[in-house]
């Protein structure tokens, strides 16, 4: 034993480094072996499709997924010049603008009022988070019935009190708003639960000492609650933005991208281009643009917004 240690100590620095590297290499491969199942699954279902999409975006691809010819950047150029794509980008940004702030504000409001210790509050907590249990398809169908052009509940109410019917889903000016309202309703449950969880984590002692110092409700809200909730708010905003860029089901069920492409959000546009029209090349290019967009937005959020987040 001691001989060996002595021998090691006697070794020159170069061979000691070599030994270290060898060990590191061995560690690396052992680690890889343990991660292999995860890597295999993620690679197969995530990275492979992603690289294939990138690859397709530079080719003319037929509807069976065979590449026909190299297209260079022409798929991207086609999108650049396409008025349909511009309309759908515009709709996507407007949709994010309509849904993200509203969802967060409304669910924050609901979370704050249900964070009070009042009798019967669990009922409201369950009620406000219930949309989490509704699937996109079911939720959108409920709204489809409410917004129906001739027998919908909303239009019947309007007609009942003497107003004109509104083309909730059939008018280009209203359709995006209708889809947004549906989306806000559907996302409330998730955001509400996360925000409520965040609120419950804030220590009661802080409020007690604030009250002793004479802080009112609003001061407590803005000086304690919001700052301490900021990590949760940040998380919720990142997730909500990504979700809003990836909305699909409600568009498919409510409007099918219409009227006149006013609700043709980017993911729906990709779906239509690829699976209805069979143009996988341009659809892949759109998917890459969406990927880049979400990546950039998320980086921006982490770089700039996260600085304002207060971690305990």
């Amino acid at each position: 034993m001691t001989d060996q240690v002595a021998a090691k100590q006697l070794m020159d620095p170069a061979s000691r480094d070599k030994e270290k590297r060898k060990k590191a290499r061995k560690n690396f491969w052992t680690a890889m072996l343990f991660m292999l199942p995860a890597i295999a699954i993620i690679g197969f279902f995530l990275f492979y499709p992603m690289f294939k999409t990138l690859y397709f975006s530079f080719f003319v691809v037929n509807s069976r997924g065979d590449t026909i010819s190299f297209a260079g950047l022409s798929n991207y150029l086609y999108l650049w010049e396409s008025s349909t794509f511009r309309t759908s980008m515009k709709a996507t940004f407007l949709f994010a603008l309509y849904t993200v702030p509203t969802t967060i504000l409304v669910s924050l409001f609901l979370a704050v009022i249900t964070n009070e210790k009042v009798r019967g509050i669990p009922f409201f907590r369950v009620a406000f988070s219930s949309t989490l249990g509704v699937s996109v398809a079911a939720g959108a169908t409920i709204w489809l019935i409410l917004l129906h052009p001739s027998v919908g509940v909303f239009n019947n109410l309007l007609a009942g009190i003497g107003f004109d019917r509104i083309g909730w889903l059939t008018s280009s000016t209203w359709a995006l708003i209708s889809v947004s309202i549906t989306t806000i309703w559907m996302n409330l449950g998730f955001n509400f639960i996360i925000l409520l969880g965040g609120l419950q984590n804030i220590s009661e002692e802080l409020y007690e000492s604030a009250r002793v110092d004479g802080a009112g409700y609003w001061t407590q809200l803005f000086k304690i609650t919001i700052p301490l909730l900021s990590p949760t708010l940040f998380f919720v905003s990142v997730v909500t933005i990504i979700n809003s860029f990836q909305s699909f089901g409600q568009v498919d069920i409510l409007t099918g991208g219409g009227p006149n492409n006013s609700t043709n959000l980017i993911v729906y546009s990709i779906y239509r281009e690829a699976f209805e029209s069979g143009f996988f090349g341009t659809a892949s290019a759109q998917a890459m643009i969406l990927f880049a967009l979400v990546l950039i937005l998320t980086i921006i959020q982490f770089k700039f917004v996260e600085k304002k987040v207060h971690y305990q």
């Binding site: 003319v60 691809v61 001739s150 008018s171 219409g258 006149n260 699976f275």
Partner: protein
């Protein structure tokens, strides 16, 4: 431990690999009781869907070698999307119902076996028994690639009770564009509801165009050579758009979106007095309404004779990835669907019209036509059709996209945009889609 681990990884990987390739020789699929299994995808919901189930049941009971399994796949568009995913493999169904405008696409898809091969090899079956106007649509260079199954055209449905309320003669439906406009105004004044509406679906535009003898595409609607130019922005298309625009501005036109069910609900709820629909809705409309329903021919611009309509609906295609014996079984069922008696029952249950003229002599159908005189409008309209390239209908591989483009243009028109600009833009967009499709086909 290490060995076990790599073994597990190996298994996972090989499962993936197997899933990725597979598909060698197709096997004849059998049911548990030893019948050849034929899978049949269709796009008929509601009443027509039930009629298909009945047809399939009576076929299954009529013999004991073949079992047909009918599966509803959603709308025509949805069915085609599903098919694209499995087309050409043994996963594909044996028979698929594809709408008329998918004809060109299907014939070039590489998923299908032209039916003509089976018809040629069968002495009992002759295409001469089929309606000429229907064959006119589905024959490509004289060959029948698919079997016409449900054929329809567009007709006008109107609410006779609302006509009476507005002081109009319920037996004199409007026949021209300007009559429709006047009637809509009167109906709107009297009832406060929309006078007229069309479903925002490209098919109705195609029908109104053909009824004026207008072509959709150059090269005889793409029938004498592959089309590369869209002609929808000519005067015929312009007339349709102007007509819709004027009614929209007058506030007498209803907009019930793109969903078939929505406009039918609106009609049943008396939110619109006249509207265009497929003949397939006849039975449902007549039976579902609390008022008297009338049917009328498709309107034409003033001073013009109607040229007739394009055969709409769908046809049955046989796929090519399946075993030969399954194909033979599938052909047997396809022949069954074309039988005059089966067609008579089908036509009576739906409002589609039979593909073989012989079916009209069938008692079942005659009784129904007597009970529901509304059915005969579409039959008359079809038989009054002169077979020209315009009424044969257009052929192109990008029809679903073309329809979407026209639908967008109509929606923009309803928002007050200029009709000529919209049509020019739509024509240019369709040409661009054709060019992209050709590029993709390697033409």
């Amino acid at each position: 431990m290490k060995k076990l681990f790599s073994l597990a990884v190996l298994v996972i990987l090989s499962v993936f690999l197997l899933a990725a390739c597979g598909d060698d020789d197709p096997e004849v699929e059998m049911t548990d009781d030893g019948k050849r299994l034929v899978t049949f995808w269709h796009a008929m919901g509601g009443g027509p869907g039930e009629a298909i189930d009945e047809m399939v049941n009576s076929y299954n009971e009529s013999q004991d070698e073949i079992y047909v399994d009918a599966v509803y796949q959603g709308s025509y568009e949805e069915l085609l999307n599903q098919l694209r995913a499995v087309g050409g493999t043994s996963e594909a169904p044996s028979i698929v119902q594809v709408y008329e405008v998918g004809t060109q696409y299907m014939s070039e898809s590489g998923f299908i076996e032209p039916l003509q091969t089976f018809i040629d090899g069968d002495d009992d079956f002759s295409v001469d028994n089929l309606e000429e106007n229907i064959l006119g649509y589905y024959q490509l260079d004289g060959d029948l690639y698919s079997m016409p199954f449900n054929t329809s055209n567009a007709i006008m449905f109107y609410n006779k009770d609302m006509f009476r309320e507005a002081g109009l003669d319920p037996e004199q439906p409007p026949r021209t564009f300007s009559e429709v406009q006047e009637y809509s105004q009167q109906l709107n004044d009297a009832t406060g509801e929309a006078g007229f509406a069309i479903l925002i679906y490209g098919w109705f535009f195609e029908q109104l165009l053909a009824n004026q003898g207008g072509l959709y595409l150059n090269n005889d609607n793409g029938r004498s050579a592959v089309a590369d130019e869209a002609l929808i922005n000519g005067e015929e298309g312009q007339r349709i758009f102007e007509w819709l625009n004027e009614m929209n501005e007058a506030g007498t036109l209803g907009n019930f979106g793109r969903q078939w069910d929505d406009i039918r609900t609106a009609f049943a709820a008396e939110n619109v007095a006249m509207y265009l629909d497929s003949t397939a809705a006849t039975r449902g409309n007549v039976e579902g309404a609390d008022f008297e329903v009338g049917t009328a021919f498709l309107p034409v611009p003033d001073g013009m004779d109607p040229q007739g309509v394009i055969v709409g609906g769908g046809s049955l295609w046989m796929t090519n990835g399946i075993a030969e014996e399954t194909q033979e079984a599938a052909f047997d069922f396809i022949k069954y669907t074309a039988d005059p008696e089966v067609q008579a029952v089908w036509a009576g249950a739906t409002g589609y019209f039979p593909i073989s003229p012989e079916a009209y002599n069938n008692e079942i159908l005659q009784d129904i036509y007597e009970e529901y005189p509304q059915f005969t409008t579409s039959v008359d309209q079809l038989q009054n059709t002169t077979l020209t390239p315009a009424t044969q209908g257009a052929l192109m591989g990008v029809f679903p996209e073309a329809r979407n483009i026209v639908e967008n243009a109509i929606e923009a028109l309803y928002q007050g945009e200029d009709s000529q600009e919209l049509l020019d833009q739509a024509a240019a967009d369709i040409e661009e889609q054709i060019e992209r499709y050709n590029q993709q086909q390697g033409n």
